[in-house]
């Protein structure tokens, strides 16, 4: 009995310790921002590998999600004769929710796991130690540029996701199902609010960008430096990111749209 309690306590303490290490790392990364001002090319290189290389998966997913939204929305709305509102429905659900959330989930799977594996392997092959011994701070030189690349890429990717999603919705509803084109666009333009919908969506994706990249970098940096450790860390990145994104999405939605 006592032993079980002790084990529970130990697990709790270890988890708290890990959380503390994670926050310390985040602070160190934020302090490392100066390095990016000094060497902007580091950030640009990472924007490419974190952001640009994610464009394809995010774009294609956005297109299909939008097409599915068009189809499903049409079946529901046509029952009430409100097909003209299809544009609003597609755009609102993409900009407010699906854009930031699905992009963050895709980002965690595509870029987050790659970041964790990269950092974890750099640790396992002593590259991080090597940098430290060359008097180069790996947090500033390696982690900080990746962190800001993730932070900046996420809203851009989410915007791309939403834009292609709306295009997908348009193709299906106007092209395939014969919804009136003018009504599709004009209702969307009329109902979608810059502050209420778009800004809130951008804020969400900025938050998800911070959280997903932070989780990915911390898992890599804190990984047990063996092949098994790195593979576990990569899995944890995807799982933790998914939980964090979905949980935070609820909190943020309640704060933004709850009256």
């Amino acid at each position: 009995m006592i032993e079980q309690l002790a084990r529970l306590g130990r697990t709790g303490l270890l988890a708290l310790e890990r959380l503390g290490r994670g926050h310390l790392l985040l602070l160190a990364i934020l302090k490392g921002m100066t390095e990016i001002v000094r060497r902007p090319f580091l950030l640009i290189a990472q924007m490419f590998s974190v952001g640009v290389l994610s464009i394809l998966i995010v774009g294609i997913s956005g297109l299909f999600v939008g097409m599915v939204l068009g189809l499903q929305g049409y079946y529901v709305l046509s029952q009430f004769g409100a097909e003209e509102s299809l544009g609003v429905m597609v755009a609102a659900s993409l900009v407010r929710e699906l854009g930031p959330v699905v992009t963050a989930l895709l980002f965690a799977g595509r870029a987050g796991s790659a970041l964790t594996a990269e950092i974890g392997l750099m640790k396992a092959t002593e590259q991080l130690s090597g940098l430290e011994m060359m008097a180069v701070d790996p947090v500033k030189r390696i982690l900080a540029p990746r962190f800001f690349a993730g932070f900046l890429s996420m809203p851009l990717l989410a915007a791309l996701f939403s834009a292609l999603g709306i295009l997908g919705g348009y193709l299906v509803s106007v092209g395939l199902l014969g919804v009136d084109e003018g009504a599709f666009w004009s209702q969307m333009q009329h109902k979608i609010d810059l502050h209420e919908d778009i800004y809130n969506g951008v804020i969400k994706s900025l938050v998800f960008g911070v959280v997903c990249t932070w989780i990915a970098l911390f898992q890599g940096y804190d990984a047990v430096p063996t092949s098994e450790g790195v593979s576990r860390a990569t899995t944890r990145t995807v799982v933790h990111s998914a939980f964090a994104v979905l949980g935070l999405d609820f909190v943020l939605t309640a704060l933004m749209f709850g009256d």
Binding site: T125, E126, S129, G130, L131, E132, M133, M134, A135, V136
Partner: protein, 327 residues
């Protein structure tokens, strides 16, 4: 003295090597003194503001006293005292798992000891603030067992990395320095290869070129001979000794390859079970009367160190009724 122009070094300090002078003279024969001393002055003055240390300083470069360190429950070091003399090759030997690499990380300030001090060039490395520690590390090179090269840039860029980070030399100057360092390890022709295209021995030589890129005061070698074929082994053995003597470096080798290490080391410390068991010149250790040291130095299968990990009697273990390998 520079073998090419015959000019004497200006004796600024022990790190201002004849080796470097000769190399620099070879691409700028009439270089004025201030120019030849300049890269050194930058680093030395940046590191601690003084560059007039004399060779004759008898104080050891690294002084370890009462070092204690544990990993989890396991005590790795328990009161270790080691002196690393300047301009010598000191080897730290011991069987696998005695924490030799850990010792290098403690000297480099990457790990914190539980007790004891590590004094590097007169400074307690674990009491230094981070920026001072980083400045001191500029003067310490380390060659990792795996090479620890950055895998996303080629050989040239790997060697240029510390120069780009810590100096503001022109691109032309960096190119020349990198080619000189690569020439010294015999890999000038491999400058465009990626680390994944190198053999283990080549990767270590590139790592060595990178470690000496900033002309450090000391180099730490982590298991430099492990897993090398006889040729690259011979090359490495020679390189380490030559670099040490020509550049008046201080070298610390961590290894369990007795033959190779004994060949080049001036002084050997043998560590086991968290303590220094014996130290002395290679000859003294070869003739040691201690059964343990004798077994280790001569690679005898039987002696105080058992081949078998502690286990119950074989016959008992065989005939015990068990499931899944456990009693």
């Amino acid at each position: 003295m520079c073998p090419e122009c015959g000019e004497l070094g200006d004796g600024l300090d022990g790190h201002y090597s004849d080796w470097r002078q000769s190399r620099l003279c070879s691409f700028w024969p009439g270089a004025p003194g201030w120019w030849r001393a300049w890269p050194l002055l930058r680093l030395e003055a940046g590191a601690d503001g003084r560059y007039t240390m004399s060779d004759s300083q008898a104080e050891p470069l690294v002084k370890i006293r009462g070092l204690r360190f544990s990993r989890g429950e396991k005590r790795i070091f328990d009161g270790v005292d080691i002196d690393i003399q300047r301009h010598r090759v000191t080897a730290i030997m011991g069987p696998s798992g005695t924490g030799k690499t850990t010792l290098l990380k403690l000297i480099g300030g990457q790990l914190q000891p539980e007790a004891g001090t590590v004094i590097v060039d007169g400074k307690d490395i674990h009491a230094l603030p981070l920026d001072a520690l980083y400045k001191l590390r500029i003067r310490m090179g380390m060659m990792f067992q795996s090479g620890a090269l950055l895998t996303d840039i080629d050989v040239f860029e790997n060697v240029a990395y510390p120069l780009r980070e810590h100096t503001s030399l022109s691109e032309e100057m960096i190119r020349k320095l990198v080619l000189l360092k690569l020439e010294a390890v015999g890999l000038r022709g491999a400058r465009d290869l990626m680390p994944s295209e190198l053999s283990g021995g080549m990767a270590r030589r590139v790592a060595l070129a990178r470690a000496v890129a900033l002309d450090p005061m000391m180099i730490m070698y982590d298991e430099p001979f492990t897993g090398q074929d006889p040729i690259s082994m011979g090359v490495l053995v020679e390189l380490i000794r030559e670099l040490n003597d020509a550049s008046r470096l201080t070298s610390i080798i961590v290894s369990h390859d007795v033959q190779e290490t004994a060949e080049i080391a001036d002084h050997i410390y043998v560590i086991s079970q968290g303590k220094v068991i014996e130290h002395g010149t290679p000859e003294e250790l070869m003739d040691s009367q201690s059964a343990w040291v004798k077994q280790f130095m001569h690679g005898l299968p039987d002696g105080p160190v058992r081949f078998h990990y502690p286990a119950p009697d074989l016959a008992q273990d065989f005939f015990r009724h068990s499931t899944g390998g456990r009693p």
